[in-house]
Amino acid sequence: MSTTLDLHCHSEASEDSRAPVEAYLNWITLRRAERPLDGIVLTEHRQFNRDADYRALEDKFGLMVLRASEVETNYGHVLVFGVNEDILARFDFANIRLDAQELIDEVARLGGIAVPCHPGRPNIGLCEHYLTKPALQNVVAVEMLNGGSRKGENERSEELIQRFGYAATGGSDSHLVSLIGLCATRFAAYINSIDGLVRELKTGSYEPVDFRPKRKPVARAVEAEAK
């Protein structure tokens, strides 16, 4: 039995999102035919929402709500799954200059997994950093599909992932209710907890899935003022 999770989204706990978790779950329920998710993983910016309790909402909607973090490093942004007290004691998530190699190694040692996200984005993605710095060691998985990408960025991510043989994940990177679940990760295994998610992420038995609607093309305006 497989499990499909949106591994990257932001609720109103992040400074740049106003989306309530309940509205996310309601939207997934409404759009289940197009976005068949079993749950979401909240990856709030530069923090871990330690005290949030989404159990009542999970019961109401029959969807899983797991908690993780998106932190900022010298190699771009990184999703941290399996955040625990040891990891929080080891790293200041609010620091936007974390050392990526240290984060990857230490998070793994302390029982979690660090997954670099949107590698194709300028400045905050792996691709650009790999041009000038050595490739990171011990990376298991990298986000390939990101719902907030500009044209070409997901393609750049895919190229990098293939070149280095990383496992690939997907997530919507949603900051808006209606964008939840547009990209996700389908796991071969059944997952029902953050420990299960961390365990499966380490196996590599999953693939990114794309639920973005194909929009009808919009014609480019004639370059009237070309001269």
Binding site: E15, H45, R46, E72, G76, H77, N95, I96, R97, R121, P122, N123, I124
Partner: protein, 148 residues
């Protein structure tokens, strides 16, 4: 490493702008720039029968009021030129022709993050717009992004 600034400047109101009297022409010009056609904003006669009993400015007119140059002398500068990164506007009541609008502004928050443009310092300036009766018409949070 946190952003370096004087924390006492947060929430301090440095300046109240001179009142700007809103004219029907200002509203009309603004509407033309946006291609506005809603009669509540463009047709004084039709607007009389509407919910406001007269012509009002479109809500987004509220974001066009600007702080005086003196305000920014108090705002710390980080890196190169600032860009407008976004706004959060709360529209408390409509702005009408004849209103005399003043801005009461303070620095609400300063924080750092990284994005497509590199390391950025965000300075959030909150402006409260008041009319000639001292009533609040809007609160506007301007997020200025500075690349460092």
């Amino acid at each position: 490493m946190a952003v370096d600034y004087d924390p006492t400047l947060i929430n301090k109101v440095f300046e109240v702008t001179d009142p700007v009297t809103v004219t029907p022409e200002m509203i009309q010009k603004f509407c033309q720039g946006l291609g506005e056609t809603n009669p509540l904003f463009t047709d004084a006669e039709a607007a009389k029968k509407g919910p406001y009993g007269g012509l009002v400015a479109p809500p987004s007119f509220a974001v066009t009021f600007r702080n005086g140059r003196h305000f920014f002398q108090h705002v710390p500068r980080f890196g190169r030129a600032g860009f407008d990164a976004g706004k959060d506007a709360e529209f408390v009541q409509p702005i009408r022709p004849g209103d005399k609008v003043t801005l009461h502004s303070h620095v609400k928050e300063i924080y750092e993050k990284t994005g497509r443009s590199g390391t950025m310092v965000f300075v959030v300036v909150r402006s409260t717009l008041k009319n000639q009766n001292g009533e609040v018409v809007a609160h506007i949070d301007h997020r200025f992004m500075n690349r460092t």
